[in-house]
Amino acid sequence: MAGSALRRLMAEYKQLTLNPPEGIIAGPINEENFFEWEALITGPEGTCFEGGVFPAKLVFPPDYPLSPPKMQFTCEMFHPNIYSDGRVCISILHAPGDDPMGYESSAERWSPVQSVEKILLSVVSMLAEPNDESGANVDAAKMWRENRIEFNKIAEKIVRRTLGIPT
């Protein structure tokens, strides 16, 4: 029998392939290595990210699902909860005990019950509704709060860029 982390990742991959959630595609970059995935997320409708297709990379730890994976957008992003290098900062990706922003309750942290699908769905809802209290990207958080029009413009530019449309 292969390792439990591997088996679980395979099971999740199968599940995601058989019943893909709307607007999300995810799978291992290389079927030799199930611990690095690539995901494509479409921007939620009715938000400033609508229409965009955002690529991201998921890196799973050897003890997955006991520890959370890391997620990083590989395209340019401008969002209060995404660091400027693309790393995603949401509570379900943090193991209880490490709290980079010091405000999350343990109830919304990582637990083995979570899955790739849930992470990606959370990220979609994070795109729709940023949490401006945890400023992974302080500039974006500030702009989101104070100058929504400007924020929307930047978001639109990013959407166009991900689609390869000249801005």
Binding site: M1, A2, G3, S4, A5, L6, R7, R8, M10, A11, E12, Q15, E31, E32, N33, F34, F35, P62, D63, P65, L66, S67, A95, P96, S106, A107, S111, P112, V113
Partner: protein, 583 residues
């Protein structure tokens, strides 16, 4: 491409140097002397030697590992830099011995070290790779064998040289190779465990435990080696600065392995003692998939107090991280015994009438003071206008009204140490024989909060006793009163054990009260009776209540009353029995 050009360049340079020397000296021996005497030529030769080592390394890597993965390569680079830095530090200690041979031996050490690291990474990768070919096994096995032999050889060499020639730089090498040998053994054990697991059809639950203990033992050996090395070095030379970083990491890893073992043991202990195995029916009821590993649960699954079911092995590895339920995050260490008292405790405080029909041991403890309640209410009813009775009833009987925290169990037992206040303390088992000494001690506790809780509990007992006394007094006055006023007699002298009827009465009473507000009543009992019978069509409460009211028509003679009461009681009991049977 670049490395190829560099090697070619170096090769040309070397050839040039050799050709030049041979051209000048014409003979082999003088040309060798010439090269060794000339610094630029030696530099070229050194570079060439370095490149040769590099190429050998590449070839060996190709043979034993094939293509390196990115993470493996990153690890290798990172570790190499540290190793090079430490080697430079080591040079400072042994600067007297510094010569080309010394450098060569150190390079060899680094070279072998890097293969140990790669082997380690590769074996760790086994668990995460979907396909393991026979080539992989062949490579790992031969590499481990080779590395082990080399390590042993160098340890022996270092030992012999130290014994014959006294302490020298060989001490460092001996020690380094000893560490590397432990690494090889560690990798070999891991490899063995992984391959056994790979070949078995079902997941091997105990593998994690074996790995943990391997880690612990190997960590211990390494820590001892490092301490011994530092002690020897301090005695003979000076503080070996270059050994501190690896030593620190080794100690840290050992500490981690140690705490992992402890946590794991605790988790296993909890698993085995606190939680029941899930039955097949329960597995069927849940959707039979362990949410941790997403696989079917066939055997070896446990049910947590919160009714969530998981594989034993999955749960165990999770509990090493955290002692919560993965699904609902219930802290399983805080209330290990709460599971059986929780439903009862929830039902206990609010309404005695609802609670009464369950006859479990928990309520048996509660009953003593419940029994006083109905007479108290019934006795208030005739004497006072309706509102008073109502108030008394909705809060329960005023005096024994307990705070939730001071609920029944503290009567007899000391409170549970972890939660002196809310929620209600868990019910201790009926006898303490089933508990271990340790558990008993934990239960008793001697921190401040425990003592406080005990005092609080004693106070509550006192309060309840006082309440009981007050009720007894009221009871006796009611009896006295009932001798004079026949209408109330039946209610007041309702035998205490028969609390169901009275409870039902008071319940229907309160229902009637809430639904039809009424003015003060003249003949309370009849009122209540008609009310309950009219509004509570179902027989249970009204029927039972019917009996006492019929007795009211009877004469008020003491003797006949007593016998009549006896009769009523008998009939009621009968009724109750029928009722429970039918239910």
């Amino acid at each position: 491409m670049r490395s190829l050009s560099i090697s070619l360049l170096s090769l040309t340079l070397t050839l040039l140097v050799v050709a030049n020397a041979y051209y000048q000296k014409k003979q082999f021996y003088p040309s060798v002397v010439y090269i060794t005497k000339s610094n630029p030529s030696m530099a070229v030769i050194y570079i060439q030697a370095f490149i040769c080592v590099w190429i050998t390394g590449k070839i060996m890597r190709k043979i034993f590992f094939g293509q390196l993965r990115t993470t493996e390569f990153e690890h290798l680079m990172e570790r190499s830099w540290y190793a090079v830095t430490e080697t430079c530090l080591a040079f400072t200690v042994f600067r007297d011995d510094f010569n080309p041979k010394f450098v060569a031996v150190f390079t060899l050490l680094l070279f072998l070290k890097s293969f140990h690291w790669l082997a380690e990474d590769r074996v760790d990768y086994m668990e995460r790779s979907p396909v393991i070919s026979w080539l992989f096994h062949l490579r790992i096995l031969s590499l481990l064998l080779l590395l082990g032999c080399l390590d042993l050889h160098f340890i022996q060499h270092a030992y012999l040289s130290t014994v014959t020639k006294g302490a020298s730089v060989q001490l460092v090498f001996g020690f380094e190779y000893a560490i590397l040998l432990t690494v090889v053994i560690n990798i070999a054990i891991k490899y063995g465990l992984h391959s056994v697991d790979l070949n078995s059809e079902t997941p091997w639950d105990n593998k994690a435990v074996f790995l943990l203990y391997t880690e612990l033992v190997m960590g211990l050996i390494k820590v001892i080696l490092y301490f011994a090395f530092v002690a020897i070095m301090v005695r003979i030379y000076t503080l070996p600065l270059f050994a501190f970083r690896p030593m620190y990491y080794t100690i840290r890893n050992f500490k981690k392995a140690f705490s992992d073992v402890i946590l794991s043991r605790r988790a296993i202990h909890n698993m085995n003692t606190l939680y029941p195995d899930a039955s097949p029916e329960e597995l069927q009821a849940a959707d039979n998939v362990c949410i941790i590993c997403r696989e079917e649960m066939t055997t070896a699954s446990k049910k947590l107090p919160c009714n969530h079911i998981f594989h034993t092995a999955c749960l165990r590895s999770w509990f090493q991280r955290q002692q919560t339920c993965p699904t609902c995050r219930l802290n399983i260490l805080r209330n290990p015994t709460n599971n059986n008292t929780r439903p009862a405790a929830a039902a206990a405080p609010p309404r005695p009438p609802q609670a009464a029909p369950f006859m479990n041991p928990f309520f048996a403890g509660q009953n003593p003071f419940q029994m006083f309640q109905p007479p108290n209410m019934d006795n208030q009813a005739p004497q006072q206008p309706r509102p008073a009775e109502n108030g008394g009833e909705q809060n329960g009987a005023p005096p024994p009204q307990p705070q939730p925290g001071a609920n029944m169990p503290p009567f007899v037992f000391p409170p549970f140490p972890f939660m002196p206040f809310l929620p209600p303390p868990p019910m201790p088992p009926q006898n303490f024989a089933s508990l271990s000494t340790e558990e008993l001690q934990r239960m008793e506790g001697n921190e401040r909060e425990n003592v406080e809780a005990r005092i609080l509990c004693l106070k509550n007992i006192q309060m309840l006793l006082d309440a009981a006394v007050v009720m007894m007094q009221q009871y006796s006055t009611t009896v006295l009163l009932s001798n004079q006023v026949p209408t109330t007699s039946s209610n007041a002298t309702t035998p205490p054990p028969n609390l169901f009827s009275t409870n039902n009465a008071s319940w229907s009473n309160s229902q009637g009260q809430s639904e039809t507000p009424r003015v003060a009543k003249v003949a309370p009992t009849t009122n209540v009776q008609s009310n309950s019978s009219s509004e509570n069509g179902e027989g249970s409460s009204s029927d039972v209540f019917d009996k006492p009211t019929t007795s009211k028509e009877g004469p008020s003679l003491d003797a006949s009353q007593v016998s009549q009461e006896e009769e009523i009681r008998r009939r009621r009991l009968q009724k109750f029995e029928q009722q429970t049977e039918s239910e």
